[in-house]
Symmetry: C7
Subunit: 95 residues, 7 copies
C-alpha cells in the first residue's frame, strides 16, 4: 500500500533533525526559519501547464532534499509519518 | 438521482476518520491541519484552459483520496453527506 | 421581457430551501456555509479567453444547480426574485 | 460635445431607481447590494488582449443594463450626470 | 526641454477644476471620488506585451482627458506643474 | 570596478534634489510623494519574457530620469552612493 | 558533498559585511534595507516557463553578487554557512 501524490506534489520521509545528518548538513540554530531534510518516497506526475501538457518534476524518488521547516502536510501511512508537499517547497537536492 | 460536479470539481464521500481506515492510513493527532480520507463518487469534465480546451482530471470515480480536513463544501444527497471540492484540494491517491 | 446575462454570468431562480427539494437534495444544517439550489433561467454567451474567443458555458437553461448560499446578486424581474451569478459559483448540476 | 470612454469602459445614464422602471425591473429593498439600471450612451473600443488585439465589447450604445449600485465614477456633462464604468461591472442586458 | 514618459505613461497638464471647463464638463460636488480634466502634453511609446511587442497608446498629445482625482505623480517642469500617470488611469477622452 | 544590474534593473546616480536641476525640473514641495531625478550609470540586459526571450530596456546609460522618491535600494561603490531600481520605477526621461 | 539548488535558486556564500569588501563596495549605514554581498557557489538549472521550457539563469558559479539583506534561507553544509535564494533576489553582479 502506498500514496500516489497528485500533480507537482511529493511524499517525503523527514530525517531526524537533532543530529548531524548522513549528508553532512547541519541545521544552524538561529531565529530564522530553518530548512529540514528528508528523502523523497513518491512523486506526482507533474504540474499541468496552461496548455494542458505535464511539466515533469526535477526531483525523483530517492533524492535527499532540503525544504522549509513548516512546509507540507503531515500524514501517517502504516504507522510511519510522512510529509506531502509541492516540489516548489524543495530548496535543493543534497548530493 | 445524482450530482454532476462542474469543471474541476469532484464529489467525495468522506470516510470515518476516527479509526484506522481500510487503506491503512492513520491520521496523526497533532496540532497541524490533518488530511481526511474519502472516496470519489463523481468528477467534473475538467478545468477550462485559457485557450478553451478542457484539462481532464487526474482522479476518477472510485479513487480513495486524501484531502485537507477543511476542504470542500458539504451537501446531503438522499440522506447521505458528501463533499464538493476542487481536484487541487486532493493531496494524493491511496493505492 | 427578460434579462440577458453578460459573459459567463447566469440568471438563476432560487428554489425554496426550507424543505426537501424535488431533486432529493437536503441541505445539512451545520455551521459551515451551505449550498443553495436553483434553476437556471438565462445564461450569458460565455467568458472571453485572453485571445478574444468565447469559452461557452457548461450549464444551460433549465439546469438545476447547487451554488454557494451567498453567491450572486439579487434582482427582481416582473415581481419575481432572481440571482445573477458567475458560472464559477455553481458547484454542480443536479441530475 | 461628448465623452469617448477608453478601452473597455462605457458611459452610462443612470435611470431613476425609486420607481418601477420601463423595463419592468423592480430593485428589491434588502440589505444585500442592489443592482442599478441605466442606458449606455457611449462605449470604448474594447479591451487590449495580451497580444495587442482589441476584444470588442458585448454591449452597445442604447443597451439598458443592470450594474452594481456602487460601480463606476460619476461625471457631469453639460449639466447631466453620467457614470463611467468597465463593461465587467455590467451584470446583464435588459431586453 | 521636455519629459518623455516611459512605457504606457502620459504627461498631463491639469485644467482648473473650480470652473466649468471649455469642454463643458462640470465635475459634480459629491462625496464620491471625482474625476479631473487635463490635456495630454507627452505620451510614452506604449506598454510592453508579454511577447515583447509594444502596445501603442489609445490617447495622443493634445487629447483632453478625464482621470481619477488622485491619479498620477506631480512634477514641475520649467515652473509649470504636470502629472505623470498611466494610460489606464484615463477614464475617457473629451470630444 | 563596477556593478552590473540583473534583468530589468538599472543603477542610478541620484542628483541633488534641493536645487533646481540642470534639466530645469523643479520638484514641487507638497505632501504628495515627489519624484527624484538621477542619471543612469548601468543597465541590466532586460526582463525575461514568459517564453524566455529578453525584453530590452527602454532606458540607456546616460539618460536623466525621474523616479519615485522612495524607489530602489541604496548601495555605495568606491565611496559613491547609487540606487539600484527596476526600470518600471522610472517615470520618464528628461530631454 | 554539495547542495544542488532547484529551479531558479542559487547557493550563496555570504561575505563579511563589517569591512570594505574586496570588490570595493561599502554598504552605507542607513535606516533603509541594505544589500549584502556574496559569492555564488551553486546554481539551479533554471526556472520553468509556462510552456515547460527552462529559462537559464543569468548568474553563474563564481559571480560576486549583491542581494537584499534579508533574502534567502540559511543552511550549514559541512560546518560552513550558506544562503539559498532565488535569482530574482540578486540585485546585481560586482565586476
Amino acid at each position: 500500500m502506498k500514496l500516489q501524490p497528485l500533480a507537482d506534489r511529493i511524499l517525503v520521509k523527514r530525517l531526524a533533525e537533532e543530529t548531524k545528518t548522513k549528508g553532512g548538513i547541519i541545521i544552524p540554530d538561529t531565529a530564522k526559519e530553518k530548512p529540514a531534510e528528508g528523502e523523497i518516497v513518491a512523486v506526482g506526475p507533474g504540474r499541468n501547464a496552461e496548455d494542458g501538457t505535464k511539466i515533469a518534476l526535477e526531483v525523483k524518488v530517492g533524492d535527499r532534499v532540503l525544504f522549509g521547516k513548516y512546509s507540507g502536510t503531515e500524514v501517517k501511512i502504516e504507522g510511519e509519518e510522512y510529509l506531502i508537499m509541492r516540489e516548489d517547497d524543495v530548496l535543493g537536492i543534497v548530493q
